[in-house]
Amino acid sequence: MDELMEKLLKLQADYFKRRRLLFILDLISIFAVFYAIFLVLQIEYFIQRSSPFFSIPVNIIRIIPPILAFIIAIIGALLLHKNDHKIKFNFLVEDKYPDLKEKLRTAYDNISETNVIVESLKSLVVSSLTVVSASKLIAASVVITRIILVIIFISGATFISLNSEYRIPPDTIANNFKNLTGIGNEDTNITIGDITGRPENSDVIGSKGSGDIFGKPKIASIEGKNIDLTLYTGMDTGFDVRDTIQTSNQFITSAAFPVDALGSNVSDGGYSMLMKKTETEKMLINKYAVERSKI
């Protein structure tokens, strides 16, 4: 391969290695920022709230915030570096080293030419390219700044994950939501159904229901720690929602009623007539009544 081409390709490879490093640093920064935001906003709680609608298993809910943050980080980093593939290395060198511009471009455009002048130009450009390095094309300050940002964001995310008091209680968010939208506010009487057209707390046909068997979820604050008192349904939660109709429709067989009871349903004359019967007759009538009740 031509010496000039070899030199250019080597410089280009070095440069794009650095750009890949910047991409990874940006990815980590964005991930850390969004993960921290999700922790602060307790996004897990909201996913849990919405899980019945999407049938998300509980053990999956815990890994959703980091996955979501990672997806956002990938999208963000890709957007930040969307023009990376369009970078023309030669133009970059020309911009950074204006003295090299015409020489480099001419040598590059005439790379396939072979004559004494072109060869001398190529040699000149190769020797001039010794001052060019990938580290000069991407300033060290840019890389250092990104590394510092990564450290700051990761530290912040770690700090928030270890200190739950920095997380905003879902009630606060719910109240703010209530204040902003008026939904659930007693004064305004606006319900989510007014906005979505769907009644609040209604279950979807075929689903297991919200599992909110004792009203709205509560957060108890004990010794500075917020504990979610919501009774969730599902596997391993210890709760199973049953349909109330299953119990109300059960038939319980009662014991055979005595003659007195049988007589109680007849007229006054009939009752006194029964009472005048002998004990054997009474036993026989009672047996009859029992047998009748079995039909």
Binding site: E102, T106, Y108, D109, V116, I117, V118
Partner: protein
């Protein structure tokens, strides 16, 4: 051989300009452009007032280049055969034979002084020599020696009794060189040099072979695509919508600008064509190819002003 010439080209041009500078005071741009025309294996038209050392400059260049130089003073009664040559009857061994007597065009460097005074017939005779580098007399064609360069001069004043060169012939000149009056310092030097008994002499510093090699090297100078595009855009900008221009330049102008820029870069010791080369050479290449609109000419605009505007607007 070519490698050696290229390696020593910077020195050659320096020595050449120094040698010419011994005789010609100032006029650096004109000398440079004449050299460029020679390197491009083309021709140049010089326009200047009388007494500005046109003949001296070109004859000095020919001496420095060790080339055969001829001068033709054009007049209305100058015949084509006066330029190309003619058959003469010669007595050889008691037999009378026609022998071709070459005209002044059979030289390496020809100065056609006041070419616009020659009749169109004579001017067109020169056309074949300029373009084809050959002369046809009768049924026979004679090749001209290489290198071949015609420097024609025009006097911008005293236009009476002249035959302005047709556009087709103008287009065959690579450059139109303007020679202006010298500065005070230069004129003072001219006076000092030419009022003494010792007349400055010129030594040959380049051989004919080297001139031919330099001509070949000129075409080898590489040019970047964007620079080439700029040259073409400049020429295209002279056509069409420009309100100041009646007729624009032909594609021959694009070739001319690039070739002249290559020669200039070689003379400057550069191994690539720069944007500056293109912009500098756009003036002499275009100024005789662009015909100004009547209104612009009436307002006193010059072709150089229009070219300057074009250069500013072309990205």
């Amino acid at each position: 051989m070519s490698n050696e010439t290229y390696a020593s080209s910077t020195r050659i041009f320096k020595e050449l300009l120094d040698e010419i500078g011994k005789v010609v005071v100032g006029q650096h741009e004109a000398v440079e452009q004449m050299m460029i025309a020679i390197l491009c294996n083309s021709h140049a038209l010089v326009e200047s007032n009388p007494g500005l050392a046109k003949t001296l400059t070109i004859s000095t260049i020919s001496k420095a280049l060790d080339l055969k130089f001829n001068r033709i003073q054009c007049t209305p009664d100058l015949m084509p055969s006066d330029i190309t040559g003619t058959y003469i009857i010669e007595d050889i061994g008691g037999k009378k034979q026609y022998r071709f007597e070459p005209g002044p065009v059979f030289a390496n460097i020809v100065l056609a002084d006041e070419i616009n005074r020659a009749s169109p017939k004579t001017q067109s005779a020169m056309l074949e020599a300029m373009q084809e580098k050959q002369v046809t007399v009768g049924n026979k064609t004679y090749l001209l020696d290489k290198p071949f360069f015609i420097l024609a001069t025009q006097n911008p004043i005293e236009m009476e009794g002249t035959y302005p060169l047709p556009e087709a012939q103008l287009d065959r000149f690579l450059l139109k060189i303007l020679m202006d009056y010298p500065t005070f310092e230069d004129e003072n030097e001219i006076v000092n040099r030419y009022t003494k008994n010792i007349v400055p002499a010129v030594n040959s510093v380049v051989s004919k072979t080297q001139v031919l090699e330099l001509q070949k090297l000129t075409r080898d100078v590489p040019i970047a695509e964007d620079i080439k595009t700029r040259a073409i855009k400049i020429v295209i900008a002279t056509r069409g919508k420009n309100e100041h221009i009646e007729y624009g330049a032909s594609p021959r102008a694009s070739i001319g600008i690039i070739l002249a820029a290559k020669a200039r870069s070689l003379m400057k010791g550069r191994n690539y064509v720069s944007k500056e080369d293109i912009d500098t050479m756009a003036y002499p290449v275009l100024r005789h190819r662009v015909i100004l609109a009547f209104e612009s000419e009436r307002k006193g605009m010059t072709t150089d002003q229009v070219i300057s505007d074009i250069l500013k607007n072309v990205k």
